[in-house]
């Protein structure tokens, strides 16, 4: 695979003295969807800001398709689009004029047909003459996406595209991302949610406290991280796990009120049906079943504490 974007040794220490990025090396392939996964304050927005020219890196170099983004900024920037995390819009502008503005700003000639298409793709065509301040939050986010697409970028950054967005729009967003990928656009998005990375990305990078902990193919990562827990709430609490259930490696939780089973959600056989069969054979009564994914926090704890596996 050919990289379209390469970051090498990129660090950032803000004027406040806070080190937001600690030497990031990352290579993004042409045409892929890359998800940057990390908790609040991990450095996702900082990293995007550095590539897009909003934040000055403390050290390191970034190349976009062979161009140094600092030295050759014109060539790089005219092909990169950014949808920011914050809903920053020109309140008094009309939807259509703000999208035209973006196209011009990025050095492109006016193209009404293209702007119409972009607005239609984002279901904004009916709102084209509305002032931005008259739109709902979800619509404003779509306006920001339309602005970023107006100059037909080859690389698109989506900084938390689904934050504060309802289920329907979230699904639309996922569709849009896949459509863009089909058209050949490389996409880098950030998210707090594993599900979202799972749904959209080809590769996932996990970042925490300014460090890129790992970068992997999504499928491989999901194997590694896709652990689920099943809690069986018991009618009668237990003091030890019955030896007949040893095969499943269960633990007791909630002072013996719950049997906890950890399984691999991606595996062919989860072992759940046989476990449940065995439980009823043994006459153990339960009132509830609950499965949950391991949270992002668990994963970070996992990654940080087992660095040899993360590498």
């Amino acid at each position: 695979m050919q990289p379209i974007l390469t970051l090498s040794g990129v660090t950032k220490t803000y004027a406040s003295g806070h080190q937001a990025l600690k030497s990031v090396d990352l290579s993004i392939n042409k045409g892929e969807i890359f998800a940057l996964l990390g908790p609040n304050g991990a450095g996702k927005t900082t990293m995007i800001g550095i590539v897009c020219g909003l934040v000055v890196p403390s050290s390191g170099t970034i190349t976009f398709d062979g161009h140094d983004v600092a030295r050759d900024f014109r060539e790089a920037r005219r092909r990169i689009g950014l949808v920011p995390q914050e809903l920053s819009t020109d309140m008094f502008e009309k939807v259509i004029s703000t999208v035209r503005f973006s196209r011009g700003l990025f050095g492109r000639r006016r193209d009404d047909a293209l702007v119409e298409q972009v607005l239609k793709d984002l279901s904004l065509w009916d709102k084209r003459d509305a002032k931005i301040m008259e739109l709902s939050g979800g619509m404003k986010r779509r306006v920001l996406i339309a602005k970023a697409l107006a100059h037909e970028p080859d690389l698109l950054f989506l900084d938390e595209p689904t934050a504060g967005v309802d289920v329907e729009l979230r699904r639309d967003m996922w569709k849009l991302v896949h459509r863009l990928r089909e058209a050949g656009t490389t996409i880098i998005l950030t998210t707090h949610y594993i599900e979202e990375a799972e749904e959209m990305a080809d590769r996932v990078g996990v970042i925490n406290r300014g460090e890129l902990l790992l970068v992997e193919e999504k499928t491989a990562l999901m194997k590694k991280l896709g652990k689920r827990e099943m809690d069986i709430s018991l009618v009668e609490p237990m003091s030890v796990v019955p030896p007949e259930l040893a095969e499943w490696d269960l633990t007791l939780a909630d002072e013996g009120h719950k049997l906890r089973y950890v399984f691999d959600a991606q595996a062919e056989r989860t072992g759940i049906p046989s476990l449940l069969r065995k439980v009823s054979e043994l006459g153990i009564q339960f009132k509830d079943l609950d499965t949950s994914k391991s949270s992002l926090e668990d994963i970070f704890v996992d990654l940080v504490h087992r660095p040899e596996q993360a590498a």
């Binding site: 909003l54 920037r77 950014l82 920053s88 196209r103 011009g104 700003l105 050095g107």
Partner: protein, 253 residues
């Protein structure tokens, strides 16, 4: 050169002015009319002539300058401060727009608007007094140079300001007093000796004087000195803006 980019910014700014067009026009026209009534009418009946020029006509260049300076400053400082404040500056920063193009767009638009207002005030004045312009080319040159220089100055203020207070501080605390004390409504020759010397440290004196020379062929200081001072101010502001944009001062973290 990213001409569509410059045009996009310029148009955006001109549209913003367009939204407040009538407000922007009515205010200077009314203010000018009031100045003529108060200064031209009330005071002008006592001061007949200054340097052989009827007092009503004498204050016209100063009046135009006063509006030109404040308008340039306010338009340009708002133009860049607002996107910083609203966060929309992210787009301009991420676009393939070089510092010169950024300046052309924002400062160009601010200067255009203040020149328009300058012309409107000049037009309004013609209703009140007989105006003859001895050096029309130089008059236009001063109009353009001053608008551009003070729009650059406003751009600096808009980049520097951390809040709306600071934004309004510079025009009200520095520019307006300097203009009033800069011979907009009198000749500094009319001042007693020490004040005349003090006035020579006021940069606005040179602007008003040069502008007045282009109308009446006479000014407080030599026209070459005025022109030099105006150009000097322009160069200094350009340098500061260039440095600010190069380092990303208050634009980039």
């Amino acid at each position: 050169m990213n001409l569509p980019g410059v045009w996009a910014i310029y148009r955006f700014e001109m549209t913003r002015f367009g939204r407040t067009f009538w407000g922007s026009i009515v205010t200077p026209v009314i203010t000018t009319a009031l100045y003529f009534i108060v200064f031209g009418g009330a005071i002008g009946s006592r001061i007949q002539e200054v340097d052989g020029v009827p007092y009503g006509a004498f204050i016209v260049p100063g009046l135009v300058m006063l509006s030109l300076l404040t308008q340039s400053l306010m338009n340009a400082s708002f133009g860049i401060y607002m996107p910083r404040f609203a966060g929309t500056i992210y787009e301009v920063l991420s676009a393939p727009v070089a510092a010169t193009e950024l300046i052309l767009g924002y400062v160009g638009a601010a200067a255009t608007k203040s020149m328009l207002i300058g012309a409107i005030i000049l037009g309004t004045s013609a209703f009140f007094v007989d105006l003859k312009i001895e050096h029309p080319v130089m008059m236009v040159a001063f109009l353009i140079l001053t608008s551009v220089a003070f729009s650059l100055f406003g751009f600096i203020v808009g980049l520097w300001a951390k809040g709306f207070e600071q934004l309004s501080l510079v025009p009200s605390l520095i520019v307006t007093p300097l203009t009033f004390l800069g011979g907009a409504f009198y000749s500094i020759d009319m001042l007693p000796a020490p004040w005349r010397t003090v006035s020579l440290f006021n940069p606005v004196v040179y602007l008003v004087s040069g502008f007045r020379w282009s109308f009446f062929g006479r000014g407080d200081v030599d026209v070459a000195v005025s022109l030099g001072a105006t150009l000097g101010f322009l160069v200094i502001c350009t340098g500061i803006v260039a440095w600010m944009l190069k380092t990303g001062y208050r634009l980039k973290a």
